[in-house]
C-alpha cells in the first residue's frame, strides 16, 4: 500500500529528518512508528500526506509515485487518507458537526448521507451533545475525539495518527486506542506515531523505530525499545 524507497528528508538549512529510510506497509496493517522527539516520526507521516516532499528517494501510495504527483491531484489523494494530528488541527470557525461534515462535503457526499454519518460518528466518539459547540469550547479529549471522528467519517483507506493520545488522560487514551483498533479490524490501515511505551507494549503490533531519521528497528510484534 505504501512504499518508502531510500527516503532522505533534510529541512533547510541542514536538519536531517529522515535518512535513507525504506519501508513497506501493506493494506489493513496496524503500524506503530516510534522514536524520540525529532526522530522523524511526524516527517514520515507528512511525506505520506505530501505535506512535505523528500530530497531523495521515492514514495508510492497505492502504486502512485507521490514525488511526481501534481498539485491538482493532491485533494484526491488526501481524501483517501484520514489524519489525526497531535495538535488536532480543527477548523476553529466551524462547529464540531461542521468540522466532521466538512470532509464529506469536499468529497461531494449527499446531504442526507452527511447527516446520517456525522450523527453516527458523533455517537461513536461520544460527542453527540457537543455537535454545535466550537473547538474553543471543548476539552483536549473532546477536541482529539472530534479530530478522530473527522479522520474516520469518509472511510479512508488509511488513518495517519500523529501522537493522538499525547494530550489525553488515560481514560481518553484507552478509548481512542480501542477506536483505532476497531477501525483496523474493519479493514482500514492504521499508522500510529507515538512514543508512549505503554501503548506500544500493550498493542503488540508492528513497530518501526526511528532514531535520528534512520529506521533502526522494524519488528512484526514489537516492543518499546529506545
Amino acid at each position: 500500500m505504501i512504499k518508502f524507497l531510500n527516503i532522505t528528508k533534510i529541512y533547510p538549512p541542514d536538519i536531517l529528518a529522515l535518512k535513507d529510510a525504506s519501508l513497506e506497509i501493506k493494506p489493513k496493517e496496524f503500524v506503530l512508528i516510534t522514536g524520540k522527539s525529532g526522530a522523524g516520526k511526524t516527517t514520515l507521516l507528512k511525506l505520506i500526506l505530501v505535506e512535505e516532499k523528500p530530497n531523495q528517494g521515492k514514495i508510492f501510495f497505492e502504486g502512485q509515485d507521490l514525488c511526481k504527483i501534481r498539485t491538482g491531484d493532491l485533494p484526491q489523494l488526501r481524501r483517501k487518507i484520514g489524519t489525526v494530528f497531535q495538535d488536532y488541527k480543527l477548523l476553529f470557525s466551524k462547529t464540531v458537526y461542521e468540522n466532521i461534515a466538512y470532509v464529506m462535503e469536499v468529497m461531494g457526499a449527499d446531504e442526507n448521507e452527511i447527516k446520517r454519518d456525522v450523527s453516527q460518528i458523533l455517537d461513536i466518539v461520544g460527542l453527540e451533545n457537543k455537535a454545535q459547540s466550537f473547538p474553543a469550547q471543548l476539552s483536549g479529549g473532546e477536541r482529539q475525539r472530534t479530530a478522530i471522528a473527522r479522520a474516520l467519517i469518509h472511510r479512508p483507506d488509511i488513518i495517519l495518527a500523529d501522537e493522538p493520545t499525547g494530550n489525553l488522560d488515560p481514560y481518553n487514551t484507552s478509548d481512542i486506542l480501542r477506536l483505532l483498533l476497531k477501525i483496523n479490524e474493519l479493514g482500514t490501515t492504521v499508522i500510529l506515531a507515538t512514543h508512549d511505551k505503554e501503548i506500544i507494549n500493550s498493542l503488540e503490533k508492528r513497530v518501526i523505530t526511528l532514531d535520528k531519521g534512520k529506521i533502526v528497528r522494524d519488528e512484526k510484534k514489537g516492543r518499546f525499545i529506545l
Partner: protein
C-alpha cells in the same frame, strides 16, 4: 457541480454571519460608492430631463418698436417662416398684450389705476418664436440681428434666457464629470477596503486554510467562500443603499418639486427602479467579487 456551488455559498454565508462586526464595516464602506454611482445616474437622467423640459419651454420673444406698422411685422414673420429651424410663430399685438395684462391683473387696483394713468399702451407688439431644438435659437437670433431689422426691433429676449439654460447645462455636465470621477475614486476606496477585509480574513484563517488543504478540499472549495463573502457584502450594501435612496427620493421629491416644477424624483425612482436595482446590485456584487478575487490572488496561495 450544483452541490459544490451550494456548499461554497453556504460556507461563505456562514463565515459572513459569524463575523458581523467586520462585515458591517465592509458593507458600510461599500455603500458609499454604490450610493455615489446611483446618485450619478439619477442626476444624469433627471438633469437631462430638466434641461429638455427647459429647452421645450424656451422661445425667443421679439419685441417691436412702438411705432412699427403691423405690415412690417408680418413681413418679418413671413421671412421667419421660411427658416426651416422655426417650429412655430405667434404674433401678439399691443392690444392683445394689454388685454392679457388686464386679464391677469384685473384684481390688482394699483396696477389697474397706474395703467389708466398712462395715455398710451405701454406694451409692445411681439413675435414668439419656437425652434425645434435649443441649439437652433442661436441661428434664429442671428437672423433677427440683421442691419435691416435694427429700426424695427426693440429687443430680442433670447439672450436673457440663454444664461439660465447654459448654466443648468454646465452644472449638470460638471456634476456628471465630478460624479464619474468621484464614483471611480470611491469604488477604488471600496475595493481597497473590501480587499483588506478579505485579506485579514485570509491571514486570520491561514492555519485553517492549511487544514482544509490537508483534509482534501479543492482549491475552489477553499477560495469560493471568500468570493461569496465579498458578494454577500455587496448584496447587503445594495439592499441598504436601495432602501436609503427610496426613502430619500420619497421625502425629497415634494421639496424638490417646489424648486423645479418639472422634477419628480420619486416618479423617476419608481419608474426606473429595475434599472436602479441593476446598477446598485452590479456595483455592489462587482466590487465585492473583484476585491475578494484580488485578495485571494495575492494572499491565498494554495
Amino acid at each position: 457541480m450544483f452541490v459544490l456551488l451550494k456548499r461554497i455559498i453556504k460556507s461563505g454565508w456562514t463565515s459572513f454571519s459569524r463575523d458581523p462586526g467586520l462585515m458591517l464595516g465592509t458593507i458600510f464602506i461599500m455603500l458609499i460608492p454604490i450610493a455615489s454611482i446611483t446618485f450619478f445616474f439619477i442626476l444624469k437622467d433627471t438633469g437631462q430631463s430638466l434641461i429638455s423640459s427647459l429647452e421645450e419651454k424656451a422661445d425667443i420673444s421679439v419685441y417691436f418698436k412702438p411705432d412699427v406698422q403691423e405690415t412690417d411685422i408680418f413681413n418679418i414673420k413671413k421671412q421667419l417662416l421660411k427658416i426651416t429651424e422655426v417650429k412655430a410663430l405667434e404674433y401678439i399685438s399691443k392690444e392683445q398684450a394689454l388685454d392679457e395684462f388686464i386679464q391677469r391683473h384685473k384684481d390688482d387696483p394699483v396696477l389697474m389705476e397706474s395703467l389708466e394713468e398712462l395715455e398710451i399702451t405701454p406694451f409692445l407688439a411681439l413675435l414668439n418664436i419656437k425652434a425645434f431644438e435649443a441649439s437652433q435659437y442661436e441661428l434664429i437670433s442671428g437672423f433677427l440681428e440683421k442691419q435691416e431689422f435694427e429700426d424695427i426691433i426693440e429687443k430680442v429676449d433670447y439672450y436673457q434666457r440663454k444664461p439660465v439654460i447654459e448654466r443648468i447645462f454646465l452644472l449638470t455636465s460638471f456634476t456628471n464629470k465630478v460624479g464619474i470621477g468621484l464614483s471611480i475614486v470611491l469604488a477604488i476606496v471600496a475595493i481597497l477596503v473590501v480587499f483588506n477585509t478579505i485579506r485579514l480574513a485570509i491571514i486570520h484563517r491561514q492555519e485553517e486554510i492549511k487544514v482544509q488543504r490537508l483534509v482534501g478540499a479543492s482549491n475552489w472549495f477553499i477560495r469560493g467562500p471568500f468570493l461569496v463573502q465579498g458578494a454577500i457584502s455587496g448584496i447587503f450594501a445594495f439592499i441598504f443603499c436601495f432602501l436609503i435612496f427610496a426613502a430619500l427620493c420619497w421625502f425629497l421629491s415634494p421639496k424638490l418639486a417646489i424648486l423645479f416644477s418639472d422634477l419628480n424624483i420619486w416618479n423617476y425612482f419608481s419608474s426606473n427602479f429595475l434599472f436602479i436595482i441593476l446598477i446598485q446590485l452590479a456595483t455592489g456584487v462587482g466590487l465585492g467579487i473583484i476585491s475578494s478575487a484580488i485578495a485571494i490572488r495575492k494572499h491565498l496561495k494554495i
